[in-house]
Symmetry: D2
Subunit: 359 residues, 4 copies
């Protein structure tokens, strides 16, 4: 038990995902924010908004900048965002000209949202690879199973025999669709929101849209037609995507747990969990964890939809709510893919399936 089940010294190995968590450290966030500021300065120099000398000085300063975390913490507690303190620290090592050129025309939300979009895109690609691997593992299992049949169950009752490969398809097909969805939502979820203080890009010159596209290109993000600061549908959609992954895998986990019941014995699990009191137990811990993660994300996705009611040009309240929810949903999706891969590798169809009850 811990504030976060993910970072917890022992629960983390059950519910967390080290690879995905690396995207959500303060260090990763700061690094992405520095990348943003460097790209911004570079493009501003190209568009003649700041001098090349200033851009070069900024680039150099960012290259070896080491943040004072205690000061960032104090600043975030006060300002609600880390950016004012971060900029102050960076500027302390810059000439007056470069200090003025840094972050020129931008606002806190530009930096923070860009960092988020960059890292979320990375997260989505890791998940995409895992979904592909899971799809392959399911496909292989389906081939192995051939024409073997198991008892289908509808409404918790034995129905009629069905090919086991049909069951596998019900686990695998939604993952394939999730991969397709990633491509569909990418231009909205991984777009650069670059709007300046009130979202109108006024500080980026006469060609603000082309300017923003140029910055987006350097960050590997999609250009956005508007600034999007207060348009959060891409975030809600991304959260929905994470939850559709955990939901599909939660169904797999639930089915596995049902099939692994001693009385059913349709599947065999190698190396389940042990009990402190009942040595004979071989608990389907991974299967249950998939259900847990599905319900966790199904709960959280609601909060991101509430955050769509983002008042005026920037809502500190709705925006911070995203910070509390979205990373957790991403990591839960990671933990689910990790757990599912492990579960598939340890499951097999029982040699001698339990005799289906004559209904």
């Amino acid at each position: 038990m811990s504030a976060s089940p993910f970072d917890h010294p022992f629960l983390g190995s059950l519910l967390g995902d080290e690879e995905l968590q690396s995207y959500f450290t303060a260090a990763s966030d700061i690094e992405a924010m520095l990348v943003f500021e460097a790209a911004l300065a570079e493009v501003e120099a190209r568009f003649g908004l700041i001098t090349s000398a200033a851009a070069e000085e900024i680039r150099s300063r960012l290259g070896d900048f080491a943040p004072d975390l205690a000061d960032l913490a104090a600043g975030t507690g006060r300002d609600g965002v880390v950016v004012p303190s971060l900029l102050r620290q960076i500027r302390s090592g810059l000439s007056a000209e470069a200090a003025a050129a840094l972050h020129r025309g931008a606002t806190s939300q530009d930096v923070i949202d860009a960092s988020l979009a960059m890292r979320m895109q990375g997260v989505s690609l890791v998940l995409d690879q895992r979904l592909a691997a899971l799809g392959n593992a399911f496909a292989e299992w389906g081939l192995e199973a051939g024409d073997r049949e198991v008892m289908a169950h509808t409404r918790m009752q034995a129905a009629k025999p069905v090919r086991f490969s049909c069951k596998i398809a019900a686990w695998s097909d939604p993952l394939t669709r999730c991969r397709l969805r990633r491509e569909e939502i990418a231009p909205r979820a991984f777009a650069l929101r670059l709007g300046g203080p009130v979202g109108d890009r006024r500080g980026f010159g006469d060609e603000a849209e082309r300017f923003a596209s140029e910055v987006a290109a350097r960050l590997g993000l999609y250009p956005a037609p508007g600034s999007l600061h207060s348009e959060r549908d891409g975030i809600a959609e991304l959260g929905g995507w994470f939850s559709m992954i955990t939901g599909a895998l939660g169904k797999f986990g639930q089915d596995a747990a049902l099939s692994l019941q001693n009385e059913v014995g349709e599947l065999v699990l190698e190396g389940g969990g042990g009990s402190s009191a009942m040595p004979h137990k071989n608990n389907p811990v991974g299967a249950e964890t998939l259900v847990t993660l599905a319900r966790f994300n199904a709960t959280l996705v609601s909060g991101l939809h509430h955050a769509l009611v983002h008042e005026n040009e920037r809502s500190g309240a709705a925006w911070s709510l995203e910070w509390m929810i979205l990373p957790q949903m991403a990591i839960a999706a990671g933990a689910a893919t990790r757990t599912a891969q492990d579960l598939v590798a340890h499951l097999s169809l029982a040699e001698e399936p339990a005799v289906p009850p004559t209904p």
Copy 2:
């Protein structure tokens, strides 16, 4: 106050949507189920699974079938689904051969899910038209506003002036994206789930996939590669779509309510709501209602993600949960588009904007 705010004699005019509610009457549901059974019989005859005479008899019987609702209610209370009773009623007017041919190879979920998909597609098209109309209304308002500026607010504080057309874009852009999303999700949300008792389409002959596509085509639905009975991601996604509509309009409503504050006076509302105790009030009822509907759907969307954990080949529990949630979300989206259209028509930018405070 009522079980359903939508069907309520007086709350319905505030929170409901007559046009969309027509898709969710028992009559609409039954009609769509009859259309499904007729199409199924017709294609089965073409594929030689039943005789043409049986198909013709079924077609004729369905054409003038009048359900006994009390019997359907009793059956649903017992069976958890309406279909067994409905079929019994239909069969009572059929020859033995046609009675056996009716619903051949299909199962309750095929009928119910097909009816839902057909009606949901209709609902989505109504919403799409309204989103288009709203987009036009916003665009027109933006043109009218020209270069006029209002005070932007970030974190509930006056920030800097911004063109009013920028604010409008933040209300309108997400709606445009919702129209695009409808096209993306259509093949998943409006697909024919036709699987038979355990979802393997075994009863539809050797060319089951082509058979299912043929039925789908007649119903105006998308063919699905598998039976999908227990794969509910298209439903969760559709619910997310409804909630993204209400969320975007909730932000518009919230912004309108803030701009209409007497102390701000940036917008003017013609014909707001009256009070029982304060005759001077001109309450922004529509604006508030948009926030209500957004939070309602943001709450409900969670339940559809929980319903992804659909155990085995058919979960009565998870499936019925969809029935309790999805229609309400659709109608809330309808009510929001209806209310937003009305609100836009009654809002205007104040002639003499309140003097922006010197920050």
Copy 3:
């Protein structure tokens, strides 16, 4: 499928509760509002705030008042609340003096919240009786079961034998606690919120608190120290209570469905649901419905907690959200108690329990 599963011509018999729904008709609401206005007038006459003649005229008018529902609907669509239209209709049959005396010092929220509190208290008492009956049914079943043992399951695996009466206690104990909770929350959930236009009771004279207590007493409601208009914790708490009922019964339903699996066969269900395609099925429809209702309320309870963020002296947005959610939660709790009573009556311990697997 319908806007509301409760009022639906055939789904209602599965998911609804006629007795509880009677509390949420427009007629019940209007009747309670008239009772409130009559009590208000009567106490105002006693406190000398209006004349006895006016109170008598009001009493008489309310006694045979027949509302024009179409006008109420139009008014609610415009004003966001039904009260201004309702009062206009009532006043049309009153002298000028009585018209001025009607609703004196009160506001829409006073009427609507009072009507809700009165009806919710009634609902809670019906539920309380059913919980008591369920407790008795479980106790009886426990006595019948005596020392009989069944296999306990932890983490979906056979664990060790346990007395069946222990399982029953896990279903019954939370219901007992729900009965206790009803008493605890009653003074907060069934309190009279009587505050006038801005909640300060200014219009009720120098002894406003005593005045409000007097009105509360006549309505069978608890007096509240303040006006509570914008303090909604009693509502959220009541919603939590409904959801704890459905949650406890959802656990019972889930356990029953698991025990009724053909492969487990620990329980026997008399008269389960039939299938349109598999005549051998005896589906545990009631057990699944209990799970559905639990997840429905678990989803909705979130919205009532969001409604705690009730801005300023009255939030149309947050308040209307309660209207959309709370009645549904009450009816779902009703449907769950009704379904559970039916389920208990049709379940029995299998004569020959399935041989527990040797773990």
Copy 4:
């Protein structure tokens, strides 16, 4: 942005609560589990279930036990619970007799739930003190404000003047009720769940109930009539309590943010947050954070109600879901009380209230 906003190096100072987080470290959890095992052994010795020598050896071993966290992590990832690994580590330093005596009759859930209940009780007492302090601060402010009036707002529109002390009461009263609720829920939320492997306390001798009460007394917990392992209503109720705290304070935050709008100017905030782009801003960061925390908990509470559907004698899935949610809700409640205390200390009524608009 981080997996957990609470433990995050810089976001933690905005959204976290150091004092409360200390209850959720692995160290705190382990310490409480050791306290449980020691109390269990001691009472077992008194009841003659183990020898005094074994109890003494256990006590001594637990006194200087230092866990191997890496091994606990590996074990938790495998077993789904930390307890088997933890016991293995402890037993490695015990004689065979004491090793057998350790944890005798108990199961993993007994230990973990006891640790949770002990720490949650501590958390609730910290919160209770802060609620008391907040109540005092509000009361003092109300006295200071005396008869001063501000404009009341209903439905986001100026209504009528109201005493500012009335507004304060609407913020403070729900906190008072939360203190009362703590007392009501304590016997259910802070009860000892001590049931053994399948919850029937069979391993604790003939006087199992008295035995369990004795252990409870030593741990400062409430005795429970049954084992409660699968009865989770006390947990859902506790989560509801946390969310009612954040909800009440979220209303305060929302009201403060509205009153602090430049155009309203009813309140003055000393030392708000700064902006990276607009030096004139004095952002009501704390007020917005209260709204964020309210919506976070309003979202999460739903998951705990879903966890009520706890299948059979122990559900790994539903139980782990609690671990992912409950600590976060506790800390959010802590952060809200901390933030509210700070906000109250920096808010004051404007000397010259903005002229109320003539409605």
